[in-house]
């Protein structure tokens, strides 16, 4: 007979902190918070072993609203703070919350290196294509031509694609979802939480005040299925309200939309999130609405030992080989001499 040592069953409510939430009414952040609070209790991890680390921005106030250990960092540095934490404490599950400005503008380099090192972090980037907290300047994901406080005549800067950046930086897990697409977001967050290594999730998030409606195409219940493709591993790329359209690879190596009346399912692109080579994931990441249906879900999920795991392993190996460190032996190494 085995004893029941299961953890106490937690619910979303257990993860709500006592702090008043201070986002604007109808900000997309609320929904993301709700989904995270829903996912955390399902992971079988004691509450005290979660840490949520953020930078600065509206989105980065997130840790205050979760009753876990939390760290509200400085602008752009959350991935670096989280990396230090995770290396020092591999036993913790560390989430990083960042924004398009925090994560891709000032913090782009830390994000890039956390991803390429494959540190076991769950990185959620709230992309609202604007600087919310500083009241509406354009961000690295704002489309060209965008008029904002700092670009009164329209932006002339070409935007980044967060997914292309992540894939270009050797990400092992890459996904995208939408703030108000509750079920989809929950599934994606769950997948991220279960991934060993760095999990990068871009969430389209509505900034109701400074960039309202930027992601309507992907959030409107009745039309989103026509604008998005919901990726499923091993399945062909089919989309549309009536699931009557598909995407195949054209002769030019690029995706094209076809009608399922005319093209067989077998000729479509089959999604392989586990492909060793990231090129297919990269290709899917380049499909953007309105030119093409925009993929949502998990683009890439491959296994590779994480940085923290490899480091721990190296510590063990060296210790096994050389024995546990002996300070006095260290002091006495090299040439020593005795004075009497």
């Amino acid at each position: 007979m085995s004893t029941d040592v299961s953890l106490p069953v937690l619910t979303a409510k257990d993860f709500a902190s006592d702090q008043e939430i201070r986002w604007c009414p109808r900000c997309g952040d609320y929904s993301i918070l709700a989904q995270v609070k829903k996912v955390l209790p399902t992971l079988g991890i004691p509450k005290e072993n979660f840490v949520c680390v953020s930078g600065i921005g509206c989105s980065s106030r997130f840790p205050y609203y979760l009753d876990t250990y939390g760290f509200h960092g400085i602008h752009g540095r959350a991935p670096a703070i989280a990396t230090g934490l995770k290396i020092a404490r591999p036993d913790l599950q560390v989430w990083v919350i960042t924004g398009d400005g925090d994560g891709l503008s000032i913090g782009g380099n830390h994000l890039m290196h956390a991803i390429r090192r494959n540190v076991d972090l769950k990185i959620i980037l709230f992309n609202n294509q604007i600087y919310g907290l500083t009241k509406g300047q354009y961000s690295p994901t704002s489309p060209i031509g965008k008029r904002t406080k700092s670009t009164p005549f329209g932006s002339v800067a070409n935007p980044l694609s967060p997914l292309s950046v992540a894939i270009g930086c050797e990400a092992t897990f890459v996904a995208r979802s939408v703030d108000v697409d509750i079920k989809h977001l929950t599934t994606v967050l769950e997948r991220a939480a279960h991934h060993k290594g760095v999990a990068f999730v871009e969430v389209y998030q509505d900034c109701n005040v400074f960039n309202s409606g930027a992601f309507e195409f992907a959030s409107k219940k009745d039309s989103k299925a026509d604008h998005c493709i919901y990726l499923e591993h091993g399945k062909p790329l089919i989309f549309g309200n009536n699931r009557d359209k598909g995407v195949r690879l054209g002769g030019d190596g690029l995706p094209q939309v076809v009608s399922l009346d005319e093209v067989a399912e077998d000729d479509l692109i089959f999604h392989d999130e586990k492909a060793r080579d990231p090129s297919l994931a990269f290709l899917l990441g380049r499909m953007r609405y309105p030119d093409l249906p925009e993929p949502m879900g998990v683009f890439r999920s491959v296994e590779r030992p994480s940085y923290d795991e490899l480091l721990c392993r190296q510590l063990e190996e060296v210790t096994e080989k050389s024995g546990p460190g002996d300070l006095e032996k260290l002091f006495n190494s090299g040439d020593t001499w005795e004075v009497k």
Binding site: E48, L85, L327, D335
Partner: protein, 632 residues
């Protein structure tokens, strides 16, 4: 030297040249970067240390990795001082200079004492090398008066080395690479050093390549025997062992001592060390040293930049590690914002600043003390950070522990300041026993302090330190961050009174550290004409100068500060006992300005900003000027 040794190296007879006894000797080896000068300098130091001398060293690398062979920029030097007395610096002026090529002669001969011994490799003074060193004519030529002040020995080192290794089948290039050992052997004879430790070192170092080992051994002995047997050298010297406190010693550089001090602090606190750093001269060796201590549980993280390094240690400290970063000038400047976050979140961490010549990229390979302002003040807002500074290579070991103790006891970032001079310089270190070291008490709460009101992360103890609760502890979940925090609860607070209270509390907490540090000591008379105040790596030169002046009867005392923020409590009182205060610094007067502002004391500066340590005489001159002046 035993007879069999001599026999082995092919010479006969007994060394019957007269031997004179000296107290202190300064030797400098210099040559091209590729000439292996750091290696022979280190060997000579080791041999002298093992013999029992007090030693102090000053390596001087070129800024380039490998500047063009023979160029002035490519000269590499290694100076060491060894003595039968106590010494504190590598010496002002050189007794024996070994110059392996014209460029080395040109850039170094100015530091050789009048009457000093000059040994040059005359084979290297060919036309092309002379022109690379911008010599119009050969300075070794007999009619050159420039070198007349020295006991000059032109030795055909290249040829003699080739001869010595003849028959081993070495390429000429390989053969020539042994000539540094020839030079070493010669100087070893000159100062009656025991070759054995170096011979052992060569044998084990080149164990995989016995031919090379043999060649280097032969070169070493050939050099030794050259001194022994040629007419040129009429006398040689001995320097008796010093009377150091008894115990086992090793040589240690400042960077090594910092690394060992940090690892020791972790052990004493019963915790793991986390080091986040980004390479930069002259701090990189701390990263290198710690990277090797994997079996000590030391985790090193080479971050993508200094900001990531500094923020990674904040994360690690939040996780409960003893967290450290190290850098130099430009890198420390980059860490300012992150250190402010450390101050606001009141987490323990140590930031090591190995100072180099500034501003900007400045003089990366040279020493300076010009980052004191930066460490004191280089953050936005009222943002006090404790500062301690090591005074010598070996002192880095103690001060690294002390920095960590303060960090943990007071829950605060702490600066440990060193500089390029003590980071790369070496001195004998009395190896401590772990049991003799002061433990570092470090606790993490496991239960809430909130009387049912949840955990209160900013509820302070008598020192004003807040509790270090770490993730993984059930029930103590809390959030930290850079926004102003309400005292006790730690919630974000925009309350005006709370802000004023917190700014004052953070300042008071740092001021409280003065309760936990020793009162300032003064060396010299209890009161008098002049107090010389120094900090950091100038300790040796300043103390040597003050001691000299004291011996000459001047009324001067020395006060060396290892604690810079807060200052020891008795400092104001000390100032009141002397008529004048002199602050020698390798900067434009940073400590002086801070002392003036803090104590309203009309301190005078002696400032040298040449990327080089003080000479003892420079300080002596100033002391004489001032202590003399007030007497008249």
């Amino acid at each position: 030297m035993s007879a069999s040794d001599a026999a082995q190296s092919g010479t006969t007879g007994v060394d019957d040249k007269p031997i004179e006894t000296l107290e202190t000797v300064v030797v400098r080896f210099c040559g091209d970067s590729g000439d292996g000068m750091q290696l022979v300098g280190t060997q000579f130091t080791n041999v002298s240390a093992v013999f029992g001398n007090d030693v102090s060293t000053l390596p001087d690398f070129p800024a380039e990795i490998r500047a063009p062979a023979g160029s002035l920029a490519g000269v590499s030097g290694y100076q060491l001082c060894f003595s039968s007395g106590e010494i504190y610096t590598p010496g002002d002026a050189v007794d024996t200079l070994v110059a392996m090529n014209p460029a080395a002669l040109k850039t170094n001969v100015g530091d050789l004492k009048r009457g000093g011994t000059l040994i040059v490799n005359e084979d290297a003074f060919d036309k092309s090398s002379l022109s690379k060193a911008h010599y119009d004519r050969n300075p070794l030529s007999a009619d050159n008066a420039d070198l007349a002040a020295f006991r000059k020995h032109s030795v055909p080192m290249t040829r003699l080395t080739r001869d010595a290794v003849d028959g081993l089948g070495l390429s000429q290039r390989e053969a020539d690479r042994c000539k540094n050992f020839f030079a070493l052997g010669l100087v070893m004879w000159l100062y009656d050093r025991d070759r054995k430790p170096t011979e052992d070192w060569i044998t084990s170092k080149f164990a995989r390549n016995p031919t090379i080992a043999e060649a280097n051994l032969r070169a070493l002995r050939a050099g030794y025997n050259f001194g022994f047997s040629t007419e040129a050298f009429t006398v040689h010297y001995e320097v008796a062992p010093a009377e150091l406190p008894p115990g086992r010693y090793r040589k240690v550089t400042g960077n090594e001592a910092v690394a060992m001090g940090l690892a020791t602090a972790a052990k004493l606190a019963g915790k793991d060390l986390f080091y986040g750093g980004y390479p930069i001269t002259p701090a990189s060796d701390i990263l290198h040293e710690l990277s090797r201590l994997k079996n000590f549980g030391v985790r090193t993280f080479q971050a993508e930049d200094e900001i990531a390094a500094a923020t990674s240690i904040i994360g690690a400290a939040f996780g409960g590690a003893l967290a450290v970063t190290a850098s130099s000038g430009p890198g420390i400047a980059l860490k300012g914002e992150a250190i402010g976050l450390g101050v606001m979140t009141e987490l323990p961490m140590v930031i090591v600043n190995v100072q180099r010549g500034g501003p900007s990229t400045g003089l990366p390979t040279k020493t300076e003390q010009s980052d004191l302002y930066l460490c004191y003040y280089g953050r936005n807002g009222d943002c006090p950070v404790p500062i301690v500074a090591a005074q010598s290579p070996a002192d880095c070991f103690a001060m690294a522990q002390e920095a960590m103790r303060i960090a943990v006891e007071y829950m605060t970032p702490v600066f440990l300041m060193t500089d390029g001079y003590i980071a790369n310089g070496a001195e004998p270190w009395l190896i401590p026993k772990l049991d003799d070291l002061k433990p570092i008490v470090c606790t993490h709460p496991t239960e809430s302090n909130g009387n049912g009101d949840g955990f209160l992360p900013y509820l302070r103890n008598e020192r004003l330190a807040r509790p270090w609760a770490i993730p993984g502890t059930p029930g103590l979940e809390h959030r930290l961050g850079g926004l102003e925090k309400a005292d006790v609860t730690g919630n974000v607070s925009y309350d005006p009174d709370n802000h004023e209270h917190m700014v004052a509390t953070r300042a008071r907490k740092v001021a409280n550290i003065a309760d936990s540090i020793p009162p300032q000591e003064v060396n010299g008379p209890e009161s008098g004409d002049l107090l010389v105040v120094s900090w950091g790596g100038t300790y040796g030169a300043v103390w040597s100068a003050v001691r000299q002046c004291q011996k000459r009867g001047l009324s001067v005392a020395h006060c060396h500060l290892r604690y810079l923020n807060p200052f020891p409590k008795n400092l104001a009182e000390i100032f009141s006992r002397y008529q004048q205060v002199l602050v020698p610094e390798l900067n434009t007067g940073q400590l002086r300005t801070i002392l003036r502002g803090t104590f309203l004391v009309d301190a005078v500066g002696l400032n040298k900003i040449k990327g080089k340590p003080f000479l003892i005489t420079e300080i002596v001159d100033k002391i004489e000027e001032m202590a003399g002046r007030s007497n008249s």
